[in-house]
Symmetry: D2
Subunit: 483 residues, 4 copies
Amino acid sequence: MDKLWSGRTNGILDSKADLFMNSIKEDKELLDFDILGNIAYSATLRKIGIISEDDFSIILDGFKKVRHVLSDESSLLGYEDIHSAVEGELRKIVGDAAGKIHTGRSRNDQIVLDEKLFLKEYSIELMSFLIELKKNLIEIAEENKDVIFPAYTHMQKAQPVLFAHYILSYFEKFSRDFKKISECFENIDILPLGSGACAGSGYAIDTDYLMKILRFKAVTDNSMDEVSSRDYVQDIIYALSCIMIHLSRICEDFIIYNSSEFSFIDISDKFCTGSSIMPQKKNPDILELIRGKCAVVTGNLLQIIVLQKGLPSTYNRDLQEDKKILFQAGKETLKSVEIFKDILKNITLKKEIIKENISQGFLEATDIADYLVKKGEKFRDAHHITGKLVSYCIKENKSFNKLTQKELEGFSELFDTDFQQKITAGNCIDSKITSCGTNSSIVGSKLKIAYERLNTMLLKVQELKERNTTINQLLKEIKNEMD
Amino acid sequence: MDKLWSGRTNGILDSKADLFMNSIKEDKELLDFDILGNIAYSATLRKIGIISEDDFSIILDGFKKVRHVLSDESSLLGYEDIHSAVEGELRKIVGDAAGKIHTGRSRNDQIVLDEKLFLKEYSIELMSFLIELKKNLIEIAEENKDVIFPAYTHMQKAQPVLFAHYILSYFEKFSRDFKKISECFENIDILPLGSGACAGSGYAIDTDYLMKILRFKAVTDNSMDEVSSRDYVQDIIYALSCIMIHLSRICEDFIIYNSSEFSFIDISDKFCTGSSIMPQKKNPDILELIRGKCAVVTGNLLQIIVLQKGLPSTYNRDLQEDKKILFQAGKETLKSVEIFKDILKNITLKKEIIKENISQGFLEATDIADYLVKKGEKFRDAHHITGKLVSYCIKENKSFNKLTQKELEGFSELFDTDFQQKITAGNCIDSKITSCGTNSSIVGSKLKIAYERLNTMLLKVQELKERNTTINQLLKEIKNEMD
Amino acid sequence: MDKLWSGRTNGILDSKADLFMNSIKEDKELLDFDILGNIAYSATLRKIGIISEDDFSIILDGFKKVRHVLSDESSLLGYEDIHSAVEGELRKIVGDAAGKIHTGRSRNDQIVLDEKLFLKEYSIELMSFLIELKKNLIEIAEENKDVIFPAYTHMQKAQPVLFAHYILSYFEKFSRDFKKISECFENIDILPLGSGACAGSGYAIDTDYLMKILRFKAVTDNSMDEVSSRDYVQDIIYALSCIMIHLSRICEDFIIYNSSEFSFIDISDKFCTGSSIMPQKKNPDILELIRGKCAVVTGNLLQIIVLQKGLPSTYNRDLQEDKKILFQAGKETLKSVEIFKDILKNITLKKEIIKENISQGFLEATDIADYLVKKGEKFRDAHHITGKLVSYCIKENKSFNKLTQKELEGFSELFDTDFQQKITAGNCIDSKITSCGTNSSIVGSKLKIAYERLNTMLLKVQELKERNTTINQLLKEIKNEMD
Amino acid sequence: MDKLWSGRTNGILDSKADLFMNSIKEDKELLDFDILGNIAYSATLRKIGIISEDDFSIILDGFKKVRHVLSDESSLLGYEDIHSAVEGELRKIVGDAAGKIHTGRSRNDQIVLDEKLFLKEYSIELMSFLIELKKNLIEIAEENKDVIFPAYTHMQKAQPVLFAHYILSYFEKFSRDFKKISECFENIDILPLGSGACAGSGYAIDTDYLMKILRFKAVTDNSMDEVSSRDYVQDIIYALSCIMIHLSRICEDFIIYNSSEFSFIDISDKFCTGSSIMPQKKNPDILELIRGKCAVVTGNLLQIIVLQKGLPSTYNRDLQEDKKILFQAGKETLKSVEIFKDILKNITLKKEIIKENISQGFLEATDIADYLVKKGEKFRDAHHITGKLVSYCIKENKSFNKLTQKELEGFSELFDTDFQQKITAGNCIDSKITSCGTNSSIVGSKLKIAYERLNTMLLKVQELKERNTTINQLLKEIKNEMD
């Protein structure tokens, strides 16, 4: 097919140059969105009389066929980009009428529309997966509500916490990510059409109508800004990289907890690879791959940023590269969230080992110091005494609960007969009474609130779905309008 | 001074190791915020009886002196970090009572508090600068309201636009950035205290009271999340990198427009460097430096992300590096916004040159095609005819406004006597009637709306200032409370 | 086909997990190299009697068929990775004998081999393209040997130089890149086989023989290092990003020189896109795309680095992601070098415009100051006088060559009658007599040396080709050996 | 002091703009190198008669005083950059003669010289530290020559190796880094002087003489390339980031091995922080900080790359930002290498725990399969049998060395009476006989070779030291010349 812009250059574009500029391989992800945008735009042109009623009907039918034809990937090859493919195939079907669909529009604003329509659908799908992931976090927390778990700082056992408390720390992280995606949706949800090549359109395009049928909440304020910026792509890739960073951290935790030396968790065979000759080996390949993909998506963020650095106004062809960046980041993240939520459902805690680990870690030391402070000891001295006590236990190979009253009194006369009753991992946990602490009733109520927050998120996704449309939905509405 | 954590290691830390871990050089930025947090925390400890009324008075006075002493940078040297410095100096003044201020707190949550207090103040300052920058954008647009300017795509003249329209495209970009910073503020505005080392605090810290006097809108939900994450730092650095990318683009525009070949703008000598022997040279060093600093801040974003990648729960010492990253990004961006807003006030348009440039660029070609379409020509044919017309003009070295009616009719009989009247740069501009277009009345109303949006932003900053506090303000409130 | 490592997990890997770990899409680039490595390894196993002569013949034939079958991409689908595909298809053909080819080897060292074989071939191809690119640089310099060109600092005209001098500045940059690739080749050229999973192989693999037939210059020194590191991938991606940075800079130059405001160069229509209605527009899309791809490859570099950050010893599955990173960077760079070298052959200088531009730029100012210094004026005063002179010319709208002797003497009595003869752009150029300067005889000799350096590079590539092998070459050698 | 370039702008540079462009804070690192370069350049100007013998003596003395004055940091403040500071102070001492030292030179080539002189010295220092680090690696390997250690893949125990073999895997990595730095030195070692502002110098500067006294091995080939590129900075930062990645990996290993769950190593208290109340806690803060600094240096690499992306020819002020990037990366890496080499000397292996760990890990499984293969079993069946055997051992809670002959025969009749003698961790190790394997005599000889390689590296550093000079050395040589 002729280039849309040909004429001047007599079509003698160098064949390697042609190939070099070709973006159809990435563009194929945009097929449905390009057609969706085209249908809506044609409907608008019809409204202002540029496309006649008759042509419109033919064009509508044409688009349906185009969609069918181009869903076969091999039909796309040979086209320069998705816009050429759709118009080219439409022309085969409806003839010259196809030419009208570009009136008052440019590829510069059309590609922004396609990407935004893609991103709205993508965001909704990702948010749904994030909700499932978080649901699975809550469930694994609920199922192991009573498990006491060692919290680490510096990869050293620090204090006992509820396993649920640990898991909820990731619930918080992924909730921030959900919020980010939802804010991205709002920033994306602005109609770019009407921008033309860069100065606005010379036709009285009814952008309010377009906004309504394509379900955008607003029309862009400035045509030059709209065609020159990929902020809406960059923002979402940033949000994706936040998700991946959080995933990389919980994966790191699980990889370590899955080592035979820690042995805190058991990952189902369905999500591990093994060795035929070393059956005890459980390679957490998927967790490692997610951690690896975090590097990939981080790089994607850099790519989209560097792409825009120092670029003069307005549209420059550099921006075409944004698609491969976006689609890679989008897929890697979606796949990672999807598989990780499944892994969560297939992890079992090795409670006995964890319990033993807790009892050997002197994790109650902080609470012993607090015990002394509450009995009247000075803060620093309390720490000093506790330190000596732990050293003694290590030397004697004893855990705290094996200390006799006499031994205790040798360190401080403030150690009372309530020591053994007060200094247990359970009590340590319940003593953390600040509203963000691991006290079990606090954690219990945070779990309940987490369910409620999940519901709010579900409603949010529901709302966004209604603020989105599809080819079929749009066709139905147009049909209604025409009747 | 002894390390806060010493005792076990007999204080025999290797001197190079000591130096390696030292963060006082970066921490000095946090002095006021550490003291502010300490005062508030002491007030809370007093409320629950851990610090007596008498001690509290002494400690309050102590902090004022500490602030004075440590404002001399040389007093900081020798301390490991800002917390040690403040406690160490306080101890010199008030003796052992200083030890109590750490009850129920850890350096893990304290550093998060310091950073958040810093970031709230920083955000407000940056937002104020952004408002000024945008005000200056509007003013330069207003002052040159009638200037017609060439819009570029691919560094090639594309269509005439109002200079104000061009400038407003950056107003939009920086408005998105303002919104991002303001969202960051909300995410930062959550009290971390009560988290302790990682499990929560074993003391009945009144976090609601703390939240109130330190002006946070909420208390953190999960202690492990709070001490392990630097999302709040990463988010703001991302917002900063967005600002820098936008600055790099307008700087690139201005560097090019400032070249002698373009010669569209004149930057005041106050903001250029020159050559003593080539007085015509006006090196836009500051614009170039801003573009360079964009690379620096982009790297800062990467640093904070990579820092967190694959880090296991919860606090790891890697996170200490976040401060040098944050402070660099913070300063480079603040300085860049500040100087750029001043440059904006010192730029003059070379209107004559721009005007001449417009007349030679065939920028009205798109409108000629539209003219033909509106007269009934088919879209593609209209383009074809226009192309031939431009080629003719180039060959004859004529601009459109020199074409005779006869010449025009040689290309299409649809060219009517209204051609010369309709096809002017001004008409081209006014023909872009979509609500994001460069039509002069649309741009006029966008300018008015821009002023209103600025006012809303000013109100926002005012609101945030009220949601922030300072040492003096807090001291006053505590005094009132005590009376 | 069964997973190579199945058995323990009863083959019940979750289907999504299976898909998530699948790398066949990227691996397909490695097909030939995997087969090449397999053939060589089988030959080695035959040497130590693990594969019998008869089996070996069958296996050899098998591999030829496998190559044919798998060259159809659809045959690859369904396999987990390239190793499984090759072994799986071989098993279909030769039955159980296929199992032997893995004796004493692991996928951990096999994948390193495949990548290294790929990289050796890739490096040679890229180096060849770089040589062509540099040849075209020299040719365009030669063709425009006498063109005087303005050198820019800060996007401001600074001094006149020979166009050839300007072009040679890129010759230097790309020569450094060539050297980097060639150093990468040396680092890659180390046989990884014998490493096994991580501890070495338990079989007396004749690595010297393997080294010889696969044309490696050395055998790896440490098995754990070999399977755990992707330094050899990272190094080459760094070299690629250097190439892309250099390309981005010359593209930026050309994009600016191609603007109508500069109009220094004309890019052939074969490498530009245009506008059907604005025939004067010559969008340098390809140059912009290369600049955009620079962002992509920079991101790839980051990806491979972040992938390895903080990874524990030895092999972790994260490393699998290296392939998509490498292949993207590899292709984008190769394509960019290839198309850019073609563009170079299709660029014409607009000599008249350049000449006029030179005459208006006061580019000889530095030389006027030097003129005065040589006549005895102090350095600072000479600069001062020249500055005044330029200001005068600007005010009077005169170029230097229009100044009368009287006017000159008004500024300094040191201005002699030789002024007009000495102060010409040509003389300015010839006055730059340091060995790196733009003096025309120096540049002439640098051009000659550049040709010689090209020849050395050609010889280098020839040498590397001989240090590389292919399937056909290896088969021939084995056949000779067997005869 | 007046700006070097003032005159035209009447010195009315905006004060904020002045501050914004100021680089003296970073430049101070370059003081000695700027003076070194100035002395050498003055000597060259004397040679061609631009500076008289008398002036030269005065200037030489002047530089000595300037160095003394400016070594007090406060004297630098107020200057724009290091060149202004040195010239400004020199002028105070020697008066107008100071003006001559810039004849035929520009700040564009002077800054490159300063950076290159800095980098040569820096590289030598870093290489020396790397040698010490590697020496300490060899020593810790030697000291624990007989320790059998578990090699991990996927954080799962895989095969037994010698601890020395594990350590040597890092010796290899750091050897590659050493080589990179040494290659950087060669690329840096090219004299930039003679380039002038960008076109070359108009004075007959004797660059051969300069090259000789400043100990460069060559003179730059192209002035425009020389002043426009920061490749030599970028290359070394890439090498630094390679070092940091390698450090981050061994740090990650050690952090994990230092956890109480692994407990393989003991880090001296001198390099750990602890908790006063949890004496068993050994926080590996320094290792974590190094891992964190890896993120910082990775970001520095990105910064220097992005800085250059899309920058037009030749010098642009953006490049000034390279100094803060370089100095940060340089210091962080140097400090990290220095402290890590010290840590290595303060690490003890917990041999008993490691031994026990080895015995429980079924690490000999691969060798059992190999045992069966060598007895005649098919590869796949051997794996199958071994898998069953391991499963049996796990169920019966037995290690391999507790299996009776009868039990063994139940799995395969190929299990002979030599089983217990052959299947030991030691034998497994010795069976890895490929030249990169962990066989003890191979590792022994690699250790010896490592010492020899260290010696070669020492000689290399010695050679580079001789290819470098200092102010005192240069002064001595000039004195000799003058006598």
